[in-house]
Every structure is written in C-alpha cells, then in structure tokens.
C-alpha cells in the first residue's frame, strides 16, 4: 500500500499523540487515581500503535504495543506507576519522538525497540494470572449508556454464548463469522473477544451482547449455522440487569467506551463487523474534528480577504442604484460574508494549550535534573490564538520557562532558609486582554539581582562600572534583553547557549508583540508576552497622511488631538509636544513616510512605541477599520516603519504603521537618552534638554 500520501498526517498525529502522552504520564505521576487520565493514556497509546502499524513502522508499533501492556496493567490496578516506571515510560516516549522525527527527516524509524521493550517487560513481569487471561481474550463489554440507548429504541438485549468445537482449527475466523452472523440480526454492543483481540483469539468460548428485535431462537439458529460451532446459548438480559462485568473485577464499563473509540479501522479490518456495531460512540467522536492542512487555512483566509474586498466594491457600486431587490440582495451578501469571515477567523484559532502541553514534561525533567522542587501551574489553557502565532510561541516560552527553572527558582534548602515554601511555583498563564493575548511566565524564585546583572554586564563590556553602580531593576531587565547577555555564571545546558532573552524579544516582535519582564528581588520574576490575537486581521485607525492612506493599530493609539490646542516646542532642533502628562517627540507623518507634505495638518495621533509615546501628525482621521493584513513586498517595507499593508474597501492600499519602529527610529537621533545596552555609544550629553 502506498502510504506516502498519509505521511504528513501520520507525522502530525504521532507528534500530537506523543505530546499528549507526555502530559498524561506526568499528570498520572501526580495523581495516580485519575481513571480518566489512565483511559486517555491507553486510548492514545492504542491509536499510536494502530497508526504506526498501518504506516509500516514496525519498531514503533512493537514498542507501543508493549507500552500498551504496561498501561493495561495500570488500568487494572490502583496505585499508579512508581517513579522508575514513569521514567521508563518517558524514556520510551522520547525514543518514539526521536523515531517520529527520524521518519520526518529520513523516512526511516531508526529505532531499536528491544532494550526498551526489555525494560518494559520487567515492569509488567509480575502480572497476575487473571490479567494474563484478560490479555489473551480481550473483552469489550457493553456499557450502561449503550444498553439504555438500545432499550430505549425498543430492542431487547440478548446475551449469546457460543461454544466452538474443541477441534476447531481457526477460532479467530469462526469468532469473526459468529459476530458477522449476529450482526445480521441486530447490533452487537459488546463481545468477547473484543474487536481488537479477535485476530489473536485462541479460545473456544465466544460471548456477545446483541441488541435485537429477533427472537432468541432466530439468533441461536443463525449462530449455529457457523461451522465448528458446538453449542449456542441465548438468554435475554433483564431490563434492570446491570451491564456485565468482564472476567476481571475492573471498571470495564468506562473502558469499553474508550476501547470502542480507539478502534483503528486499519487494525481491525477482519473484525469490521463487530467493530461497526460496537463503535456507535466512536463514529460520533471522530466526526467532531477534521484535520486540515494549515496551508489550506491560510488560503481560505486569503480568499476570504478577497471576498471582503469584492463585497465592499459591490456595495459601493450598488449604493446609488434604486432597486429594492438589488439592495436586499446586497444586504444578504454582506450578512453572509460577514458570518463567513468571522467563522474563518474562528477556524484559525486554536487553544494555547497546544503549546502548554509540552511544559509538564519539560518542567518535570528540568526540575529533577536541577534538583529543584517545582509545581507547575497552567492557567487559561483554552485561551485561543491564531494558529500562526501559536506555532511561533513555543520556543520563546520554553526559553522563559528554562530561565525561571534555572535562574529564578532556588533549590529547596535555600527556599526553606529564606522562609519560603519548599516547593517553588512556576505559573504559565494565558488570558485575553482587549485585542491581545497576554501569556505570562511567573515564578516565585529569587528574582533578578541588579548587582549581579551589572557585574555580568560590565564583564561582557555592555556597560561601564559607573553605570553598573547605579543600575536599578528596570535597567537590569533591559540588560537581560541585550544581545549576548546570559546571567548564568557558568553556561548550563539548560538555559541554552548563546541564545538569550534578545532572541525571545526578537521572535515576539516579529509576531507583532512585545515582552515585558518585571521582577522583585527575593520574590520572583514575571515575564509577559503580549501578542495580537491574530496576525490576519488588525483593528486600526485609518488616517490620511499627505494624501495617502495609512493605518495605525488601534491598540497602539492612545488618543488624538488638535495641534492648535497644544504647545509645540523645539528641543535640540526637534519638535516636541508639551502635554500635561509629559513631553512627547512630534513626528511629521509626511516626512517619516517620505511624502510631499500637503497643506495643513492640524491633527495629531498619540501612539505608543514599545517604551515611549510619540505624536504623529496626520492630515485626516478616517475612522476605525478592521483590516485584513497582507505582507508587503520587502522592497516596499524595508527601511520604512511599516509592518504590512491592507487593501481598503475602495481598492486603495493602506500601509500599516509599525509604531515600535516609528518610536525607535527616534532613538537614533541625539534626542534620545541611552536606556539600554544596545547603544552604549549614544551621546549622553543630549539628555540635557534645552528648552527653546
């Protein structure tokens, strides 16, 4: 079978499954009694096995099969897994991840499962005899929900016990035939062996629970007609009879639902009939989500943008035509396309949990390695973000988390000595704030020490002794973001090498966001990443500057005012705006965007850059618009403080102003006061402001 077509899907799903398993296993270590987690693990492991077997990756399938045994054991006994067992399982997950990665790169697994299988076998060696029986048979029991549903539909539940001839050659085939025959007369809602186990069935007794309208005799005779059947017993289950319990005293009722859900069509092909019957729940579960190539979503978004533009053109052209029918049709078009637009936007949104999922494992591993006691708190996991943003968020967040674990949180003894709880808390929280999403990484560790930061910065040649002596927390934080800065006295293998906070900041700015770090010495550090909700649509104030449309992202616009109502002064040859709440640099819009000024411009928009506010003169305020952003060709955007473009309703193109770049352009002029390690050479004397 040519499976290459399914490869991208396999890789994506496998990675997802592995990540989910990582999370679940760590969860399990914390709370071993959670049956839901255990079922989840079993289900994921099973899908993974099925997928890899289908794709012909036998090593992965083999390893996951044995892992499944371990999880099976887990499902049957309380008390969870010991630390060693967890570590072994995690090692297996790492090996699987590596194998999946290898498949992605080379198409080959590069996995030798034998040593890990050996380790896993040691974990399950002490399995009880009953469990062994269970493994061999594998039961799928009807659960109460299915029973109730079947009864509600007017069916009777018959319990069919079929004994095969002692001499039977192929019990698996006969079992399959029995189930197929039963399915002709009703719906099989539970069976022993289970659909997954049927292929390896070696026993002589087959049991099934069938929801049917037929009489017992009809069922019995249909089963008897199958070759090698020695005897058939059929009895009706009384309506109040509880669902049967499997050969083991385990909570199969819940497990049956889970087992039905994991049925992998490719795996269970010979068992298709019983599967179809037992998988009522599975059908609805798998229909709930559809996996879509991210690229297609981008195209969809793109087409949506085009539609919006065409729609507004149609609206404009038809506005003057007095035809009620046409107006009505246009209104309908508008309404539908607006709904479509918001739906497309929603489709692109995915919960931030996709990124968060990796952290329980990461924190567990790192804290074990660093011998620190850390409790990870994940808040706002269902906060939704545009998928392009989510995809790029991983690395910066990992860096912040590593920083907190490595530099922020103290070892337990130190914490106790300082009167803190032995266990440190690391919180990763996501929340919506207006048109942005704020993701915060917070620890209650030792905080940033400006003195230590200063020393380090002097050593790296970023600042001089003099500056270091007066370094405050704000300055220290700025230094942390300076390229090449790392606070670790010796570079550990945890906080990475050479990649510092500057890389985090660069990445986040690339996404149109900002990183803010705050710290209280001795109390902890908090890093906040603020990102636009979506990169695809920006809410902006549309203005005219020298006759051309520009857009200012609304979250950067503080207010607008009239030039004539305020005092403009000149400081060191530059115009500044004197307001009650401060003195702001005043930028000529026409000048900064290289346009010929056109007459009067009495209006000023106060915008926020990442660390300061500026006043921008504009000709006209047009209004607030939701704009579909488009990348600009590099020849256009390079060297200009613009971050993108947008096609307006009338077909004109508005350039979206990059407020950070606008504000930081000023930093290169003598007016700026050196405030970070980036420009140690800036003329300090300019900080004395001369008022004209």
């Amino acid at each position: 079978m040519d499976t290459s077509e399914y490869m991208p899907m396999f890789l994506a799903e496998a990675q997802e499954h592995l990540q989910e398993l990582n999370v679940a296993i760590v969860e399990l270590e914390e709370d071993s009694s959670n049956q839901e987690t255990v079922d989840g693990i079993f289900r994921i492991a099973h899908s993974l096995k099925g997928m890899s077997a289908t794709m012909g990756f036998s090593a992965i399938a083999e390893l996951t099969h044995v892992m499944e045994d371990v999880f099976e054991l887990l499902r049957q006994r309380t008390g969870g897994l010991g630390h060693d067992a967890i570590t072994t399982v995690l090692a297996c997950l790492d090996a699987l991840s590596a194998a999946v990665e290898s498949i992605e790169m080379t198409g080959k697994e590069n996995l030798d499962p034998a040593p890990l299988i050996q380790q896993l076998h040691e974990l399950i060696r002490d399995r009880t005899p009953e469990q062994a029986v269970e493994r061999a048979g594998g039961a799928e029991m009807p659960n109460q929900v299915v029973l109730d549903a079947a009864r509600a539909a007017g069916a009777r539940i018959l319990h069919v016990t079929v004994k095969l001839d002692e001499e039977v050659m192929m019990p698996a085939v006969r079992a399959h035939m029995v189930f197929a025959a039963l399915n002709d007369h009703g719906e099989t809602i539970g069976c022993i062996p289970s659909p997954e186990a049927i292929e390896n069935f070696q026993g002589h007794v087959i049991e099934a629970w069938v929801a049917t309208e037929h009489e017992e005799s009809a069922i019995a005779s249909t089963a008897t007609r199958v070759s090698d059947v020695a005897s058939v017993e059929v009895e009706e289950m009384a309506p109040d009879e509880a669902p049967p319990v499997g050969p083991l005293e385990v909570a199969v009722a819940a497990a049956a639902a889970a087992a039905a859900e994991v049925d992998e069509p490719a795996l269970a092909s010979p068992a298709a009939a019983p599967k179809a019957a037992g998988a009522g729940a599975a059908g609805s579960a798998s229909a709930r989500t559809v996996r879509v190539d991210a690229e297609r979503l981008d195209v969809l978004m793109h087409l949506m943008g085009e539609l919006v533009i065409h729609r507004t053109a149609v609206e404009a052209y038809t506005a003057d035509i007095s035809s009620p029918e046409l107006q009505h049709a246009v209104q309908n078009l508008t309404r539908s396309s607006q709904s479509l637009q918001s739906m497309v936007m929603q489709v692109r949104m995915i919960p931030v949990d996709v990124v968060f999922m990796r952290f329980p494992r990461l924190v567990r591993d790192l804290s074990t390695k660093l011998q620190k006691d850390v409790e990870l708190e994940l808040l706002g996991r269902d906060t939704e973000l545009d998928r392009t943003v989510v995809d790029s968020l991983g690395d910066p967040l990992v860096h912040l988390v590593r920083n907190s674990l490595d530099h922020g949180l103290e070892p337990p003894d130190v914490r106790v000595a300082e009167g803190k709880t032995r266990t440190g808390t690391l919180t990763i929280a996501a929340r919506h704030a207006g048109g942005s999403v704020v993701i915060e990484v917070r620890d209650d560790g030792r905080g940033i020490d400006p003195v230590a930061v200063g020393k380090k910065a002097v050593k790296s040649g970023l600042i001089d002794e003099e500056t270091a002596a007066h370094l405050d927390m704000k300055g220290a934080v700025e230094l942390l973001f300076a390229p090449g800065f790392s606070t670790a006295e010796t570079t550990s293998d945890i906080s990475g090498r050479g990649v510092g906070m500057d890389a985090v900041r660069a990445k986040i700015r690339e996404l149109g966001g900002e990183v803010i770090m705050e710290s209280v010495q001795g109390k902890g550090t908090s890093s906040q990443i603020r990102l636009p909700l979506t990169l695809a649509i920006v809410s902006a104030l549309q203005v005219d500057i020298a006759g051309a449309p520009f857009a200012l992202p609304i979250d950067r616009v503080e207010r607008t005012l009239r030039l004539s109502d305020h005092t403009v002064r000149s400081i060191a040859g530059r115009r500044v705006l004197s307001l009650e709440d401060g003195v702001l640099p005043l930028i000529e819009g026409a000048e900064v965007f290289g346009r010929k000024p056109t007459g009067e411009h009495d209006l000023i928009v106060i915008v926020r850059g990442h660390d300061k506010r500026i006043g921008l003169t504009v000709d006209q305020l047009v209004g607030q618009r939701e704009l579909v952003t488009r990348p600009l060709p590099p020849v256009v955007s390079d060297g200009q403080p613009v971050s993108g473009g947008a096609v307006l309703a009338d077909g004109q193109i508005a350039l979206i102003v990059d407020c950070d770049a606008l504000a930081s352009d000023l930093s290169n002029t003598p007016l700026s006061v050196p405030r970070d390690g980036r420009q140690p050479g800036t003329d300090a004397s300019a900080s004395k402001l001369v008022t004209a």
């Binding site: 793109h302 579909v628 488009r630 600009l632 390079d638 060297g639 200009q640 193109i653």
Partner: protein, 146 residues
Amino acid sequence: MADENQARQLVVFTLGAEQYALPIEQVHEIIRYDEPRSVASPIAWVRGVISLRGRIVPVYDLAARLGLSSELTDQTKIVIVEAGDETAGVIVDEVDEVLTVEDADFEEVPGADSELIDAIAKLGDRLVVLLKPSTIFANTEELVTA
C-alpha cells in the same frame, strides 16, 4: 536555459523605442495601468504597490531600471510577472504580441547588462530582448548599495 531545438513563447512588449520580452510561463497576467499606491522606497524604480485580488504586489518601473525613457499613455500596461514565490508588476508602454521563437533564433548577449538580459532574439530585422524574470526580483538590498 532552454533545451536544444525548442521553441519558446514570449510575451513581447515595447519600452521606449525598443522591444522586450518575457517568457510566457512567467507572465501571470497583463492588467490596465492604474497609478500604484506610492511608497517611499530608497530604490528609484520601485513605483509603489497595487492590489491584485487582495494581494499586495510591488510595481517596478522597468524603463527606469533599464535606463530608458517612457511615458504613460492609454496603452500603458502592467505585466504581472511570477518567479519562484514572488510576484511583481512591471510597467510597459504597450504589450505587442505573443511570439514563438525557435531556440536557434536566440543570440548571446554581447557584453550587455547580463544581470537583466537573458538573450536577444533576432527576427528578421527586429531585435527582441529577452529579460530574465528572476532578476526582476533581484535582491534589492544589494541593488540599493550597489
């Protein structure tokens, strides 16, 4: 570039008094000239951007780039060129025709600006200059500093 003994289809257009051409595979479409939205670009021949079905596409002044003079007329068109992932429009005075040219009719460029020019097709007494689409998108940073 092309295989031996093969014909190539070219979109031929006028710039000033000369005829130029681009391979038809890389001409996405030809549109009526509308004043592009001007942008402040340090590069003189970047005339601005236009919206092409929602996409923002840069428009280059090919005549200025080749050192020719041309003026806007009713016949002025924008040829949308694609190379790799990139799309750009170039302003031309007039689009003349689509020509099929045998490989044999192409001649090497004698010392001319080989950055932009791929070959010259000699057709009777006409000379058609075949441009390299890829260099229309040439790394502009390089060009700015050059």
